[in-house]
Amino acid sequence: MNSRFYLEFLKVAAVPLFMAAVLFFASCAEHADDGILRLGLMEEPRTTNIWLASDANSRKLISLVYQPLYTYDPDSLELTPWLAASMPEYDPDTQSYTVRLRDAKWSDGTRLTADDVVFTVELIQRFRVPRYYSQWRFVERTEAVDERTVRFFLEEPKAIFLTRTLVNYVVPKSQWEPIAEAAGQRQKPLAALLNTEIEAPLGSGPFVLAEWRKGAYIHLKKNDHFFGSGVEVSGRRLGPHADEVLFKVYGTADVAVLGLKKDEIDFLWMSIQPGYIDGLEANPHTTVYLSDRSALYYMGFNVRREPFSDPAFRRAVNVLIDKDFIIDRVLQGYAAHMDSIVPTENVFWHADGLPEYARGLSREDRIRKAWRVLSEEGYTWQRPPVDENGEVAAPSRIILPDGTPMADFSILTPPADYDPARATCGVIIQEWLKDLGIPASSRPMAFGALLQRVKDRHEFDAFILGYGQLSLDPDYLRSFFHSENDRPGGWNMSGYNNEAFDRLADESVMAMDTQRRRDLILEMQRIVMEDVPYIPLYNPSAVEAVGKKRFEGWEEMIDGIGNIWSLTRVAPLEE
């Protein structure tokens, strides 16, 4: 009887023992090779097709393979030639820019020529590739002057050509021409192009894709033909010094952070929650980098609907929202205050002296101030939030100027597992609004469904969303608030419509004089912050962590250390 019991026990115990052994030996094998830069991701990239890639993780992979003509300098954030040899030359008579290319090669050793650049632009224009087309549509003609010179003829002067258009990637004609030809024959050319699987993308970047084992890892090898090897760009000597790159995919942040602590990866390529900072700082093998971001997290209203169409109502909500509370508490101080749509860190374009609303006021003073703002516009309460003695009291439901009590409405937020900060903000703002009898309720919603309701169907009252990577050029102001973008799928999600703003925005695109354009952009910010269709909430810091046992030389920049400068410059530590 007993021996059978032991036999059974052994059988049951054998499975976990075996698994433990496998895991143990697998983790041992990890430490063997050197010169491999191991990067952690939270989710697997969706695609290697550059035209389809819209998720952050695919973009990370692609940024190592394809390269742009120009990029930004990490310190000054000024445009810096990358694949281009020098800054573009503008000819006002023909409205054309001339760009000279470096002596760069594709990873198969063939030369990167002006033909490739022309091909890339024509492909984007021919297929109207989303994401890219809007940046290239005003380029009338692209011409290869010689093998290493390209000329872009613009329909009209465009300020965003340099800062937005020229930082796009160049793809090789040799690989994409047959694909484009085949896709062009199909009934839906764009869909055919986007759905083409690219097993071995031919790029000009520091690394080249070697193997992608779906669900396990992505392996990249050093590109021996990378133009930057040993070259100095913007005062920095480029590598890459790592022989190989290995992407590991972790499902959850906990496991990824643990992997970093256990030296499974050298860099966790994502912004982590502030809660992990202490543990990572305490670990002798890891260190944390905090960087400013060019991001905008905000609450938006549907100004097509009552009472959100009333600027006074929106201002009152702005008064009630204690941004410093959100930054100190919800983001643990790892965020910057925002008083405009353009982040304060974007020194050149950010407007100073915008209305502060109620910064620094106490909760009760905020309620009093918001109550005054609303009372003046004809909003009433059966039991007002401030009684006869000027004391703050629990109010009854707010009554709109037309005499009807305000209906319940929801603030849509991403779900807590996607972004706990925004979900928490939703709940806190809901409680703040209740202090004024505004019947809000926070409603977390799956991200895709949320975007569809807000951007495509316009079926919402208010929402909290964010732009994780705003371009340094503030052209997004025009996208967010120009009335021509108020259409299903357009970026003017709140339906803001202001003729004065539209005029300024139209003018700002054409303004080639930077100082003039700056004045326009500052004025646009003033209008928007007066009307507050979006209430900017915070600009979170990028919190990133690296293992310091094996690699060094991470380059700090706006949006964090996961940039092309870091990845071409990090070098293995000398033993």
Binding site: D254, G275, R329, P415, A416, D417, P420, R443
Partner: protein, 314 residues
Amino acid sequence: MKAIAAAGTGKNETRSFRMQAFLEGWSLFYENIVGRIGLYLLILFGLMALASYIPPLIDPMYHPMTGVDPDISYASAPSWRHWLGTDNIGRDIFTQLLTGARVAFLVGISAAFISIVIGTLLGMIAGYGGRVLDSVLMRFADMIMVMPSLLVILLLSVLFGQLSIWIIVMLIALFRWPAVARVIRSQTLSLKQRPFIDMARVAGASHVRILFRHILPNVLPMALLYMTFRVTSAIIVEAALAFLGFGDPNTVSWGMMLQWVWKTGHMFQAPWWLLPPGICISLITLAFYMMGRAMEEVLDPRLRKTKGPDYAAS
């Protein structure tokens, strides 16, 4: 008392008989150490739920959802001011824990009650009606029973956005009645054959009267027993949903607390935040389960441990 009852009307007689039965059951239940522990635990949680109304009255910073300590804006360890510490935005964890007990009772008992009502009704009707009605209802119950309820509720909340706590309660109830219905049906089937039902029928009682006056009182103990088990599963489903991020964001439940500690990256940094809700979920489900086990012994004499030597051989 007894004498008066005996001399009085029949109604009083049955009441005293029921009282007698209840007291007998109670003493059996109370003898059972498992049941007693479960009961004490439940009383403790009940007191916690009641006490949850007190802290916000002391100071607004003890409001479980919106109250924050003015001086603490990070996850702080237990102190005199915050007996179980604070979460990352400075909210008191002890208050959240008390409120969580309230939500657990609310979710557990209301979901279990709804599923018991549905299960008992359908079970009785199926068992009493027999034939086609029985087959249809039981096949329907089978269909619901094989559905993985947690998965379906997860899918629903993904489809319809966030669900409110009452919708979650309804969904749990709607997925958890079939097991009850099956048990009640089998009870009804055997009760139906008993002479007193025949007598009632001969006396001209309608089906509804037979069902509710004669069958229901006899299946009720069984239904209540099953209710304790349903409470357990309802609490666990709610906690799992909340932990996975599909709970009601406006409710401070234990599962929600676990979700916050997980998603804000404090899982391994703040044990004072992680452990209490976890322990409470385990203990409250254990308490209901233990109660259920003890009640089962009261209802089913075969389960009783007998002390007499006569039965030692069996």
